[in-house]
């Protein structure tokens, strides 16, 4: 069984296939486009968690849209994170590449708030986030699957993996579900972002405290099915409702093509310049608790197809 987002993709696929069948050939080609330039802005790419690993906040500058070089790092900034107990964590850019890190101990704790402060040469920027609770992942199961047609960059036959976890009692828990592919949490492109509100997609379903609903459970199988011997897994990140909105907007920004394009809008950053007449900042400062599970696909352990 394909999962829910796949259904929408399949709908688009069917739309494309049937348009071709009816002799209507849509086409896309890459063109040159002149867009106006804008001044470089501070970009914050920072996310802290409750894991035993280096915590990184990356600072860079925005560039004209069609520059395809690496963007410029922001060096010599003062980056600190303070929690609501008054602990101060100073992030250092040891390699002078704009990656400000803190690596002394486990930093994040569930239930705590974190305040980011960045001092650049001229401005002070602030942001805050909170680490919310995350449920443990119960299990990962997989089933043999054959798709009706071969995906563009995926396999037609293989295993579709799904994870089991139960949302907490109480509405308003929000999560980012990241698939683990080849041992790494992987969200290759914004369209692959999968978010959950309680055990479902949006607020309002009668799904509080349930096991994540089926389409979400299979969201860890993205562009390609798994083969035997590969590992499948999930990282479940707790996020704040505000982060949920941010990620949703990021995903929407990548849906601006085709017949059913959504007009492009800016993604709202939570990083605020303390000088109200100064330039805005881009990017986001987030915080998560993470629970994780991985498994290796073994044919004998697959769930039988004809359940």
């Amino acid at each position: 069984m394909l999962h829910f987002m796949k259904s929408i993709h399949t709908f688009q696929k069917i739309a494309a296939v049937s348009l071709i069948a009816f002799g209507l050939t849509a086409c896309e080609d890459v063109i040159d486009l002149n867009t106006t330039d804008s001044p470089p802005l501070l970009v914050v790419d920072g996310w802290i968690n409750d894991q035993e690993e280096p915590q990184t906040i990356r600072l860079s500058l925005s560039a004209p849209y069609f520059t395809n070089n690496a963007t410029q790092p922001v060096l010599n900034a003062e980056v600190t994170v303070t929690d609501d107990l008054g602990n101060v964590y100073r992030f250092e850019d040891k390699e002078e590449n704009g990656h400000y890190t803190w690596n002394d101990s486990i930093m994040g704790k569930t239930g705590r708030k974190y305040f980011l402060e960045i001092k650049t040469e001229d401005e002070v920027y602030k942001a805050e986030s909170e680490i919310k609770r995350v449920p443990t992942v119960d299990s990962i199961v997989y089933t043999k699957e054959k798709l009706p047609f071969k995906p563009d960059n995926g396999r037609q036959e293989g295993y579709i993996a799904e994870f089991y976890a139960r949302d907490f009692q109480g509405t308003g828990d929000t999560y980012w579900i990241k698939p683990i592919i080849k041992g790494k949490p992987t969200v290759a492109k914004p369209t692959n972002i999968t978010l959950a509100w309680d055990a479902s997609y949006n607020a309002g379903g009668e799904v509080d405290g349930l096991i994540f609903i089926l389409p979400l459970r299979q969201a860890i199988t993205t562009d390609s099915l798994f083969l035997e011997g590969e590992t499948a897994g999930v990282e479940l990140h707790s996020i704040t409702n505000e982060t949920f909105e941010f990620l949703k907007q990021v995903r929407e920004q990548s849906l601006n093509g085709g017949l059913f394009a959504i007009p492009m809008t800016n993604v709202r950053s939570n990083v605020v310049n303390q000088n109200p007449s100064g330039q805005k900042a881009l990017g986001y400062f987030g915080a998560s608790a993470i629970s994780r599970m991985e498994t290796t696909i073994i044919a004998e352990n697959a769930r039988p197809e004809d359940r």
């Binding site: 004209p64 492109k189 909105e245």
Partner: protein
């Protein structure tokens, strides 16, 4: 108007009980004595008197002056019920008109139906012109006309585009019934030259901002893949645009696709597209008449704020059996018409189905063999004439698009059913009572194994409406044609119902169903004030109620311009309980100043209200978009439009030209927060933003009606903007269908008896687009930022396209008497890759690389051949 009545008039309701006198003579007596207008309605006499509340002496003398010696009981009416104002207004008009009749000389009425001689179809909008009066009327949508004249002898001239004109001299000494059958011009002798006085319908008619396209013309125009298409033809008219090729629906004077009321035999069609928007759902073989009303909308129409597309189905040949059909690149069509009961009744059944799936099947590989991709529609209508006074109609439409592969399926479709009864109460009072059912639904789902449904995912959405709609036309005098009536609609909407089941564990992420009803009452009058000035005025009152059962939430703002969150707990309402009501007065007014027989100036104003909204944040409207009822949060959309136009006919009506300017203001226009979720979102109201809109423009239209070459040129210069708080810095921004320049030309050339040629050329401004000015790297993705935060600040390249077609009638008769024709057409002749959109994206292989992409829906020239037959 409301204020005017409240201020100056008071109503008295009287019950008359008089011994020995008939009600009629009492009424006459009161009428003769009273200076005040009155209406007699349901055994009640309602008198309009000046407001003298607070002055009892004055009031008593007033009552005395009315009642005289007639004893009657009276009471003043509470003016709280708004509906009463409407009745009062209707009454006022009626009184004035009654006064006109009573004081005039003895008059008689001529009435009847005008039909096509070849198949008995009633003809809509036929001009009935009385030479002696230099005045006339037109037939209504059922082909009925009625005119009341002083006793005398008159020359009646019946004329209709594409038909031979008919003259009748009638001696009017008593009421007459005069049915007319008109012959198709093309069947007549070629050399009939008409030299009598022209009718100048374009100049004389009160209608402005109205485009009628004859089905005959639509059939001859070049069509995409040779499929004659109503909506695509409409898009070639002034003031009409589309967001792009393949987009569903059409945009009229700055309105979005959901603001057009598309009526098929009076029933609304919620989605007028097959195949995601490429073809419209109307079978050209079953359509009789198409009319697009863009402004000066009469009071009888309501419910959408931009335009009315009134599509009337054929009634079926009442003379003989007729079979039409054809095979095109997409559809194969078949239509069957037959009279019964000696021509008193007839029916038509018309079906179309795409057949590429059948042809493709043998060539598909095994995995795709189960694929489904087809669409079809079935249109049927029966009518029966019971005597001279009653006609019954029943019509239905059923269409579906089905797409799927293996265990996955997706489909959408409309179904409408209409029953109508036309009744002549007298020669002057015509009634049409319509009841309809309309349903639009879609479903998306899969079943691993239908036999044992352990696993399934099923998503359904629909909107159902039931309506009853009485409409009356009262032919008061030749100068006054009163129309009044009302409508009741009950809505039942299931915006999204999802059931998913896995290993017996069922989850439900459905949205709650919604219930509402909408009522409207209207009255209008077409009045010829003088020989030169005619008016059409009216008022409509619409009333909308949200009904239970429902849970209603309030929403609180977290960040301005972003998603609002519901406040728990919501308020619970029981089944049938009224949650919320909206009421709107919708005044309508049009005037025609005839400068001379060839020139006229027309002006109009209309206000429209809309209680049903299509939530769609995508460029082209998708079949998955959900029709949503107004709620306490989603307020009704309101539009006010003024238009001014100059109309001129040249060379005995061979050419007609018009230039119109319009200005439209829109209220409560819906927009969406960033990251909005419009499907399966119980709290979708939190994702909506509300703003206003404005649209203005100039439409120039030049049409050649007669001769070997016919067709039109149309140019529109316009602007459509929206303003929504927190979008585009809260400034005005161009709407996504804003196309400042829009030029179209259509030419049809009758080469000889066998061949006709046609061409379309369109050039329009590109649609607006938003491009990022900067990129930034976040989490390994390149994201875009618009520094100015403006929406639609750029524009994609202009759109232009040429299409050609040739129609050849076969020489050979088909089965002895039949006729066949071949239609050859080429769409996009010079093979232009017109962009639907230009957008930026992250490169597929490298998420840190950005690129701009031109997306063309149709990237090449498309030739096609169609064969049509008729016998």
């Amino acid at each position: 108007m409301n204020y005017f009545i409240r201020k100056t008039l008071q109503l008295i309701e009287c019950f008359i009980f008089v011994k020995g006198k008939s009600n009629k003579s009492v009424l006459t007596e009161i009428f003769n004595r009273s200076k005040h207008p009155f209406i007699y309605y349901l055994c009640r006499l309602v008198i309009f008197i000046p407001d003298v509340r607070g002055n009892s002496v004055k009031f008593a003398s007033l009552i005395n002056s009315i009642s005289g010696t007639i004893p009657f009981r009276y009471s003043t009416i509470q003016l709280t019920m708004k509906i009463n104002y409407l009745i009062a207004f209707a009454g006022l008009l009626l009184c004035q008109s009654v006064a006109l009749i009573t004081h005039a000389q003895e008059k008689k009425t001529v009435s009847g139906y005008i039909r096509d001689a070849s198949n008995g179809e009633g003809l809509i909008g036929v001009s009935v012109y009385i030479r002696e009066l230099e005045n006339g009327v037109t037939t209504n949508p059922y082909g009925f006309y009625s005119i009341t004249l002083p006793v005398g002898t008159y020359t009646f001239i019946y004329s209709y585009m594409g038909y031979e004109r008919t003259e009748k001299v009638l001696e009017l000494t008593k009421d007459l019934t005069q049915d007319i059958e008109m012959n198709d011009e093309s069947q007549s002798l070629k050399e009939v030259v008409i030299t009598t006085r022209k009718e100048d319908e374009n100049v004389r008619s009160i209608e402005m901002s109205v485009n009628k396209v004859e089905m005959k013309t639509i059939r001859k125009m070049p069509a995409l893949l040779g499929e004659v298409d109503l909506i695509r033809s409409i898009q070639l008219l002034p003031g009409v645009t589309t967001v792009g090729e393949g987009a569903s629906g059409f945009n009229v004077r700055g309105g979005d696709v959901s603001q057009n009321l598309v009526l098929l035999d009076e029933a609304p069609v919620y989605n007028s597209s097959h195949l995601f928007g490429f073809f419209s759902v109307f079978n050209p073989d079953a359509v009789k008449d198409v009319k697009l009303i863009k402004g000066g909308i009469p009071a009888q129409y309501g419910g959408r704020i931009s335009s009315i597309l009134d599509v009337r189905m054929k009634e079926g040949n009442t003379k003989k059996r007729e079979i039409n059909g054809g095979i095109g690149s997409i559809f194969s069509r078949l239509t069957y018409e037959q009279p019964f009961d000696g021509g008193k009744g007839s029916f038509i059944v018309a079906g179309r189905r795409s057949y590429i799936d059948v042809l493709a099947k043998p060539f598909l590989n095994k995995d795709l063999r189960d694929s489904k991709f087809y669409f079809y529609d079935l249109t049927t209508k029966v009518n029966y004439r019971l005597g001279e006074k009653d006609t019954f109609y029943a019509s239905g439409y059923f269409g579906k698009d089905v797409f799927g592969a293996q265990d996955f399926g997706f489909g959408w479709g409309n179904a409408t059913a209409t029953a109508r009864w036309s009744h002549l109460f007298s020669k002057k009072l015509f009634m049409n009572l319509t009841g309809y059912y309309s349903n639009y639904d879609y479903s998306l789902g899969q079943k691993s194994d239908p036999a044992e449904e352990k696993d399934y995912f099923d998503w359904k959405s629909n909107i159902i409406s039931y309506s009853l709609k009485p409409d009356f036309t009262y032919y008061l005098t030749p100068d006054n044609q009163l129309s009044f009536g009302g409508q009741y609609i009950y809505y039942h909407s299931k915006p999204g119902k999802v059931t998913a089941k896995s290993e017996g564990e069922e989850t439900n992420i459905s949205q709650d169903p919604r219930f509402a009803d909408e009522m409207a009452l209207y009255v209008g009058n077409d009045q010829k004030l003088t020989d030169k000035i005619s008016l059409q005025y009216g008022i409509r009152y619409s009333w909308f109620r949200n009904l239970g059962a429902a849970t209603v939430y309030e929403y609180e703002e977290i960040n301005p311009g972003e998603r609002k969150m519901p406040v728990y707990p919501g308020k619970e309402y029981k089944k049938g309980e009224v949650i919320n009501t909206y009421g709107n007065w919708e005044p309508r007014f049009s005037v025609n100043f005839g400068l001379n027989s060839e020139n006229s100036i027309k002006a109009s104003y209309n206000r429209m209200a809309q209680y049903l909204h299509l939530l769609s944040n995508t460029a082209a409207s998708s079949p998955l978009d959900v029709w949503t009822l107004s709620t306490p949060i989603i307020q009704p959309e309101i539009a006010d439009q003024v238009a001014l136009g100059w109309f001129r006919n040249f060379s005995s009506n061979t050419y007609e030209a018009s230039a119109e300017v319009y200005y439209k203001k829109l209220k409560n226009q819906i927009d969406y927060v960033p990251g909005s979720e419009l499907l399966l979102n119980q709290f979708v109201e939190g994702d909506l933003l509300f703003g206003k809109g404005r649209a203005y423009g100039l439409e120039v239209y030049f049409k050649k009606n007669k001769g070997k070459l016919t067709g039109w040129l149309s140019y529109t210069l316009s602007r459509t903007e929206r303003q929504v708080e927190h979008i585009s810095n809260s400034n005005w921004f161009p709407a996504r269908f804003d196309k400042p320049h829009n030029f179209t030309s259509v030419g049809i050339y009758e080469l000889n008896n066998r061949w006709s040629l046609s061409a379309n050329f369109t050039i329009t401004s590109g649609t607006p687009a938003t491009f990022p000015t900067a990129r930034y790297d976040y989490n390994g993705w390149a994201l875009g930022d618009i520094y100015s935060n403006e929406r639609n600040g750029s524009r994609i390249p202009a759109y232009h396209r040429l299409d050609l077609a040739a129609t050849m009638k076969s020489k050979r008769k088909l089965f002895g008497s039949g006729q066949g024709e071949w239609v050859f057409s080429v769409y996009n002749v010079y093979n232009r890759r017109n962009p639907f959109s230009v957008f930026t994206r992250i490169n597929e292989d490298n998420p840190l690389k950005t690129e701009a992409v031109r997306y063309a829906v149709i990237g090449s020239m498309i030739p096609s051949v169609t064969y049509n037959f008729k016998f």
